[in-house]
Amino acid sequence: MARLELTNISKVFAGQTRAVDRVSLTVEDGEFVALLGPSGCGKSTLLRMIAGLETLTEGQVDLAGMRLDTVPPSKRDVAMVFQNYALYPHMTAFGNMAYALKNRGVTRDAIRVRVEQAAQLLQLTELLDRKPSQLSGGQRQRVAMGRALVREPQVFLFDEPLSNLDAALRGQMRVEIRQLQRTLRITSVFVTHDQIEAMTMADRLAVMNQGRLEQFGTPLEIYHRPATQFVASFIGSPPMNFLSPSLLPIPLPEGTVTVGIRPEHLTAEGAHRLPAGHCLLIEELGSEAIVHGQLPDNQMILVRVAGDHRRVIGDSVDVGFDVHHLHCFDAQGLRVEQ
């Protein structure tokens, strides 16, 4: 039904480089897709083009088999949750949620029913008479969700909706949004620069860099088989180590100029050894620790170890790896299969 197809979409702002460069991707009906990338990668622009807040320079957007990008934004049957919520400050929570319905000629009684249903779902019933200035950040977030929800749109668009919340609330809202989306089965596109948000919430995620789509796949596909060196470096915390092939004692596929290995895959038991180095710094996180090591050639590596590791600064770092954990990249930063 509500299958969202983006075909070869580009956006060129006047006199600038391509903010979005020939992106094609398909969001299946009911699927939750996260657009992930560093700031300025074009992910928000892409979302705004789906919403109709930006025009397309090239390409086409289709929703449920119908051309979408020629339709004015208010007729798109697409609801958006903004980063700073963008609530109407002079209206109550009820007014905010009812506004779109009022303008679509829904009857007063039907509006009341739909708003109250949404309010109940979002635990806002007690707060419907309040104005945004009388609500906390999390409550405003819920009202913004409710405003999108009551429209019963075909597509939900989220533009970094959690970035203004504190860490605890963000974790909670993450779960709530995901559960809500699962229950309602509404096709959703979620923009974020936070990989944890993207990994935990999305069915599939699209990693973007400099306007281009680098990889589109499930979170685990992207973690285990990053298609480019950029994706490999962007996904995973602490980030992947990139080593020069000369440090590795094993034959590598032809064309390999960089070898990546994640900090959690460098272990004492690994079948193949890296040259021994020494420990420069240890970040203690309680359940685990991140050891910053220096190898010969001044090559820096990060190693993730268990919290009870008992290392001190200056100790030797002698770790090994298994071949199937290596990620090889060529001179263009593309993955080389082993």
Binding site: G52, P72, P73, A86, P89, Y99, N103, R147
Partner: protein, 300 residues
């Protein structure tokens, strides 16, 4: 606990320096507002001879004379109409211009200074401009309005024509100030709120009325207060420069009448009483605005 002691010191030791900072403002208000107001209030109870040599305390006789004067009543009425029209037009036109400039992506930087130029113009200069534009000898607007008629438009004789001159001069002068404030107000509205409205409401006009205008209300309310007092008081400068020898009968405002009766007619007591009435009216008007209109204004 050192904190309470610190708080106490901050709260209770007074330094004279802050008072020194507000002193110039206090002095200006005292010398140019409070003292003349009190003097006017005092004089309004006296009947004075034109040379100021003798005066006689007459209780409320000056006020009674004013209220019984049909001339005063008609000037009062025309001042109300004039002020409402000037306020409405100067805010309305400025709002239209500001909305149009705010919606521009290109050339808005070029339009803005053009539209705000007149801000630097004093009311007297605005009056002078109006006087030239409508002058029977050299005025292009005079010629244009009279084109094809035999003297249809005579702002020196006909009070209605005179009102047209005075209103257009006063409005022209005030549009730029209002434009600056409204444009700043429009640009203070978060873009994302307008974008959210764009997704929620397909009708541009209704979007403006239901979202933009309410968010602009604090600015508009401020301008309403400012513009009414401008229309009542400051337009004196426009009137006096367009008509150095007085406008045609029936085209005066209350402030102009205070001036004519006091300084040309030498009726200091009556003129003072008029100015006291004027002061009370503006005070009441401002209080009404704050009490009833401000309630409906949403400040974010």
């Amino acid at each position: 606990m050192p904190q309470p002691a610190l708080m106490k010191r901050v709260q209770f030791s007074h330094s004279p320096i802050p008072y020194l900072f507000v002193l110039p403002q206090i002095l200006i208000i005292g010398v140019f507002f409070l003292w003349p107001s009190l003097e006017a209030f005092r004089l309004s109870f006296f009947l004075e001879d034109p040379w100021g040599l003798s005066n006689q305390f007459v209780w409320f006789e000056n006020y009674i004379t004013i209220f019984e004067d049909p001339d005063y009543q008609s000037v009062f009425g025309s001042t109300v109409v004039f002020s409402v029209v000037v306020t409405f037009l100067s805010i309305g036109i400025a709002l239209l211009l500001a909305v149009k400039v705010d919606g521009l992506l290109r050339f808005s930087m070029q339009y803005r200074p053009l539209l705000t130029w007149a801000y630097a113009v004093a009311p007297a200069v605005a009056g002078l401009v109006a006087r030239f534009l409508y002058s029977p000898q050299i005025g292009p607007l005079y010629d244009w309005l009279n084109a094809g008629t035999d003297g249809w438009f005579e702002p020196r004789l006909d009070p209605m024509d005179a009102w047209l001159v005075l209103i257009s001069g006063s409005v022209w002068k005030q549009i730029s100030v209002n434009f600056i404030f409204i444009l700043a107000g429009l640009q203070a509205i978060p873009r994302t709120v307008l974008e959210a409205a764009l997704l929620d409401n397909p009708n541009g006009g209704r979007r403006f009325l239901s979202i933009t205008l309410p968010l602009l209300a604090p600015t508009l309310f401020f301008l309403l207060v400012i513009n009414i007092s401008y229309a009542v008081f400051e337009t004196f400068g426009v009137i006096d420069t367009v008509y150095p020898f007085g406008p045609p009968a029936g085209a005066e405002t209350l402030v102009y009448k205070v001036y004519v009766d006091g300084f040309k007619g030498a009726d200091l007591g009556g003129s003072s009483a008029q100015s006291v009435i004027l002061m009370v009216i503006v005070l009441a008007l401002t209080m009404i605005q704050f009490k009833y209109i401000e309630k409906r204004v949403h400040y974010t």
